[in-house]
């Protein structure tokens, strides 16, 4: 499904601040893979997702999704194939627009936006049904401005919007990190459900080792722009936090400075 080859991204090239965020990364995802990505601050996790989303173009390498080369395409053209939920709950929705308008905008991802009136009766009913899945009562607040919702509600809505057009790849970028523990658990549960029901291929970045072990069928760990661990199948099912730390230390030759990664 996703085929990344020799992907490299260096920021501030040729200056004293030069920093290699992605160092010749290769990664291959099968259809239906749910991969959790873990690593310390600055390991390159979010950079990897940004590279796939097309926030900027990489220095070299190739990103193929379903056989189609993404490198060179601008961000809005890649959106057709991708669904994305950001760490910041403010990033994924338009606060000045209503809940139904946000959904309607997501429903047209990858389509040409012309002079058709956006929301009709039938569509409104569809959205109401869709929002019921979240069990947050949003189905009764279709015309509320999204800016009035809480962070958790906005993340749940963003998740729904990202999965709406069945993306070829769903990218969750620490999407529960800014939420309180209870809401985070709820949003994670929703993510699991949506990924399973639509059998989506997904990449989930997290700081939390327990989460990374609990969710998905495969785990990769990143460090200084490289993938240092790649564990899947039964081996991943049997994984514990202690073992993960031990394997990381053995691999990188340094102790895992996972300040936040150890918590939770």
């Amino acid at each position: 499904m996703l085929e990344i080859k020799n992907l490299t991204k260096t920021f501030y090239k040729g200056t004293v601040n030069e920093r290699t965020a992605l160092d010749n990364i290769s990664l291959s995802l099968k259809d239906g893979d749910f991969v959790t990505v873990i690593g310390g601050n600055g390991a390159g996790k979010s950079t990897l997702l940004n590279a796939i989303a097309g926030v900027w173009q990489p220095c070299s390498g190739s990103i193929k999704l379903g056989g189609k080369e993404l490198v060179g395409l601008p961000e809005h053209k890649r959106a057709k194939y991708l669904g994305r939920v950001f760490q910041d709950p403010m990033m994924g929705t338009a606060p000045d627009m209503m809940i139904e308008e946000n959904l309607a905008i997501a429903a047209r991802r990858g389509k040409c936006r012309n002079l058709k009136w956006m929301i009709g009766k039938i569509e409104r009913e569809d959205y109401r049904e869709l929002l019921k899945i979240l069990e947050l009562g949003l189905e009764d607040r279709l015309s509320s401005k999204v800016g009035l919702l809480s962070g958790g509600q906005r993340q749940a809505l963003t998740l729904l919007m990202a999965a709406m057009k069945t993306p070829k790849l769903l990218m969750l970028d620490e999407h529960t990190a800014a939420l309180d523990p209870k809401t985070a658990a709820k949003v994670l549960e929703l993510s699991d459900m949506i990924i399973q029901e639509n059998s989506l291929t997904a990449l989930m970045v997290t700081h939390n080792m327990k989460e990374a072990i609990k969710h998905g069928n495969r785990l990769i760990m990143m460090d200084s722009g490289k993938i240092v661990l790649d564990i899947e199948g039964d081996e991943k099912k049997a994984l514990t936090v202690e073992e993960l730390i031990a394997r990381f230390t053995a691999k990188s030759g340094e102790s895992f400075a996972g300040d936040r990664a150890l918590l939770g």
């Binding site: 989303a53 961000e75 809005h76 338009a94 309607a104 905008i105 997501a106 991802r109």
Partner: protein, 303 residues
Amino acid sequence: MTAFLESLLRALPGSAAQGLIWGIMAIGVYVTYRMLDYADLTVDGSIATGGAVCVMLILGGVNPWFALVAAFAAGAIAGLVTGLLHAVFGIPPILSGILSQLALYSVNMRILGKSNQAVSVDKYSLILSSRENMHAVLICAVAIAVLIGILYWFFGTEMGSAIRATGSNPNMSRSQGINTNRMKILGLSISNGLVGLSGGLLAQYSGAADVKMGQGAIVIGLAAVIIGQVIFGKLFRNTAIKFLSVVFGAILYYIVISIVVRLGLSPTDLKMFSAILVALFLALPSIKESIKSAKMMRQGKNA
């Protein structure tokens, strides 16, 4: 006192007519400033461009209605240029507007041939004129009703909503497949088209196009947007009615202006007055906030 009120009342139709014409311009400002979150300074130039194109076409024998359409188009092109400067060449919003505005001065001079070009209502069948204010008010009111109807429809369509989403959250818009650059260009074109149209109406109303007629226009537009929002913002939530509140803001602005002029303010001081007025309304939220926190502090001390 009664004499003052009488003269004010007599001036009311004139204020209303001017308010309505500038109201169209203010709707244009609303589209960029509020919907697109883009402080566009092109308008000072594009309003004069609209006026100039309109007057020159009428002098050349073109139907005044068609001349208005051309004024819209000319304004839209000005907006397009600003949009391209920003979206394609990455020039910051304020600067791209200033550059267009500057260039438009020369363009407007070229169109007019001299700094002021009169078009007499006696010689040409103009749509409206300051000689018949009630008639002008009627024409403008109908025009605004039609315009708001069209804009309400447009900003409810897929394309119009994409423009609104771009202004509200460009990150989200791109990740939902919206070409935010294209939407900014489109929004700026529509906005400046409306400004050009208002310039065309203004030139017909006052019987002349002047290369300086747009000086400070952005401040009047902002005044209308902000006054409309502060006074009517709580009442109106619907998008169509929000456009209307901007027009009310413009009318209110012109009524206030006509009051202060009658109270003895010199016309040359008006720009100063407008600037203070807009600054005041813009400062209102933070003034409210500091009064509130001062109150809380006092309460805290007494507790």
